[in-house]
Subunit: 196 residues, 4 copies
DNA sequence: CATGAATGAGATTTCATTCAT
DNA sequence: CATGAATGAAATCTCATTCAT
């Protein structure tokens, strides 16, 4: 059947990653088949194995890449020597911005944890804990210097993270609200609450 | 092994539901097999079909039951003629309490939406919209009478729902915090925000 | 496609064993496919798994059955209290007779040892050693009482077993020689040698 | 890993043969993969095809080389004009010696006949018949001149060949017995039998 | 109602082989 | 000559589902 247009080498790997991201986001890891993935890439199912070791690795790569990028970027976005409140605002802005532009990765990293094998699961959970730790630390220092009200920094951090990450599940880039507007709305909600 | 003869009739159906709830919660709908489910119930896979029409129905029943119960109970928990702020507090208390005691149903209803076939999916989404509507209405009326700050009631409602539902993913009944403490912590966060 | 004549229950298992015996004998364990086996039985490949756990088990069952039968029958055929020479003649007659009538099992048990997984392999090798031990013991006692010339009973036993088992690889039931004639020829060769 | 540049040209072919001999001996032709073979050689699977036409050819070459060498050497080892009994002793010594030093080739030539395609199979069987013919002829002439007892020279030849070839399956070069001792033991067994 | 056995579709993965670079 | 990537076929095994008993 000759070579069908087929992109070579690292291009193929990139295409696999992209197609996998989109497919898993839309249907879920367990629900997609390697045939579907291969079709999306434009190669035969068996050819996938020139680039990945197995299905599980595809998921792990995706999630692992996402988590490491997240950690690198949050460190850049939250000034290490700022006051807790300023850090909190930086964190909120970063988190919302990042999650809006990488909706798929974020969604997969949260919803497909369950599909990771023991070892891979542990590795990702560890990275996740690190990321949560960034916010917990901010809240803890804020509580310590009296600038933030957080009797239970861990629970508050989880609450804030859940709220912000939830944006992914309804946000549409084409929608009515800009990223900045979302940041403002959520920052106000978190900082000042809803009661007038 | 091998349930001793017994477990006939409606008891079997109940056992199926219970086992399905636990299995799907832990592994996900796509990841479980009817063999696993049958094993957990103590019958043969083929026997499941004396009680359910197919795998999809098991999921749908679970989610549908959960959603209708949720709607019935929220109506009882939020006084129709109270002021918006009182209603909001009632909603928060109800939502947290309900979600903590039915972690599995809640989790499945949120994470397995994707696994529902078109018709079933639409039915559940409609019920979900109804539930979200309860909170949106409260916020809207609170904004109207000036008691709540919610320029964007829908977005605020989603934010609050995400935050509260997130509790399910880490809460352990055996943990340090009682349900009441969780209600208080989250109510304060929502109403007054985190800034001192 | 309805039920195609399909034999039920234990009949199917029996048909699987029979077809596997013939197929593995002719083509080798690695060379046959479960599709071929299923075709020979008249069922779908997947249906095999209602009766066996996997391909390896089919081989192991065949070989294991053969080895245990062999051990039971050799004990009956070789009188425990006879003189070594009489026992040797009994052993030769039994071995030739058994191997001629079960050519397929014998061939598989010898040539597919390599295809058995570690645990299965060990189990069969142990049974084999037991069978070889029967002949080694006879030779050893013959050497002890001076009736047989066997400085190295083990090596002599292997030599005799190789010679006799080799019959399987050329014998045709429809051939020129009867089983009795084969027994006589080989017994003479073993007992008296070839030099006049 | 990754043979350092070197190993070009005919050296590679030699390495392939050597690796194939060892792999097929240990796992069987059907069980090995060209990837394993390529790994053992230190090249990529595709590169094998610069040296061999296909998998089957690798097996055929191995077996064919072995058989032709065997025929050449047996002719040298068995004096054409000697008496049958002297020839028989020469044959036994040669066969044992050759089979002990080339255990792998011998084993493969016997056990992988089945894996040869029709044409290749026929070619090898023809060579085998030629080799068997050497022994059959000796026995036939021995029977004719009354020096050997062989009513059925063909069957006796098969019996002797089976016995001697069997040595390959247990012999260890590091073992207790020297090649000469093995020759003596088996020659005595064949010539004089086991009865005192 | 439960069972055991069947189906048919399909999943992941492996493999020999080809070929442009 | 070697490589990396592709193919296409097939292999083992799983699964939801059906149905006679």
């Amino acid at each position: 059947m000759a070579r069908t247009a087929g992109s070579h080498g690292p291009k193929t790997m990139e295409a696999i990653r992209k197609a996998a991201l989109s497919l898993i986001y839309r249907k879920g890891y367990e629900a997609i088949t390697l045939r579907q993935l291969a079709d999306a890439v434009g190669i035969q199912p068996g050819s996938l194995y020139n680039h990945v070791r197995n299905k599980q690795d595809i998921l792990f790569d995706l999630v692992h890449d996402h988590m490491t990028t997240l950690l690198v970027e949050v460190a850049e976005a939250v000034p290490a020597d700022a006051a807790p409140r300023a850090q909190l605002e930086g964190f909120i802005a970063f988190h919302v911005g990042y999650h809006i532009t990488r909706r798929e990765q974020v969604f997969i990293a949260n919803s497909e944890l369950r599909s990771l094998e023991a070892g891979n699961h542990a590795a990702i959970v560890a990275l996740r804990k690190k990321y949560e730790g960034v916010l917990i630390d901010i809240l803890r220092r804020g509580a310590a210097d009296g600038s933030l009200r957080a009797e239970e920094p861990t629970i508050a951090a989880y609450a804030i993270l859940s709220m912000l990450t939830g944006i992914c599940s309804w946000y549409q880039p084409s929608g009515r609200k800009s990223a900045e507007q979302l940041v403002t709305l959520h920052r106000d909600l978190i900082l000042r609450g809803i009661v007038v």
